[in-house]
Amino acid sequence: MMKEMKRPERGKSLFRFAAPQLFYPLAGALAPWFAAAAAALTIIGLWLAFFVAPTDAQQGEVYRVIFIHVPAAWMSMFVYLIMAFWSAVGLVMNTRLSFMMARALAPTGAMFCVVALVTGALWGKPTWGAYWVWDARLTSQLLLLFLYFGFMALTEAIEDPRRADKAGAIIALVGAVNVPIIYFSVKWWNTLHQGASVSLTKAPSMAATMLAGMLVMALASWAYTIAVTLWRVRPLILERERHAEWVAAELDALEGKV
């Protein structure tokens, strides 16, 4: 009886991919498609950004930084929330793969966070006259970068993978509180940073082609993040599952190829 309960119907459910053994080949098969989608969307997005979107009436051409700045800032927040999500799933369901996903996501989230901060500085200088100001938006975004670094440093530093997973998950979950603070900071506080560029409740405040360029670049960032995360999680799975038989078979196939 017990045995039957422990093995729910895994046959056709998507949840079967929570098993590292099944997820490993799936990730390998999917990653190139997402990478190709990212490349194609980036080309379309850049074309919209530079050749279709008009010159901004107030800012002139410098506003074209928006096409990477906003998607990168969005991604840096989304990726953190997804990390927190996988961490929560890992803590509740005790699934190893969830923690591996959280770890595989962190460097890409940190990369987007750096992109958002650097492009923001390069945009701030000509428009505000300063690369950096300690307003609520910029400060909370910088804190997000430190949370990413903290997560990565902690999970790398703790030897025992299970304890590292748990510690990382706690940082991810506690730090997730910062994400709504970043997002709403421009509303809650008087910031130099402008308000939200895109709102679901208000009519868009920018030209349709500008918005389209930004959204296409955001999709490109999504596809890129998925591809890189899948590529990053694969060797992580092999390392963590190295005692499993299927990994031995996988390594047999790789012998002499790396």
Partner: protein, 70 residues
Amino acid sequence: MQWESWSAFWQMGGAAPFVWGSYGITALLVVGELIMVMRRRKDALRRLLRLRRAKAGGSGGRRAFEEIVE
């Protein structure tokens, strides 16, 4: 088309360092991340293969195994 000439395009209305700087740094970070992911994969696979060979191999294997585990 937004631009009168290619040189106008590259000048970005005087904002060239900021616009191209932003896109350039982003491109470098993306390429850098891709290189790191590929390198990390190679390192991990090599380590795992060495570990396996060390385990399989006899007396010399033990020391190699401990070396890698560290």
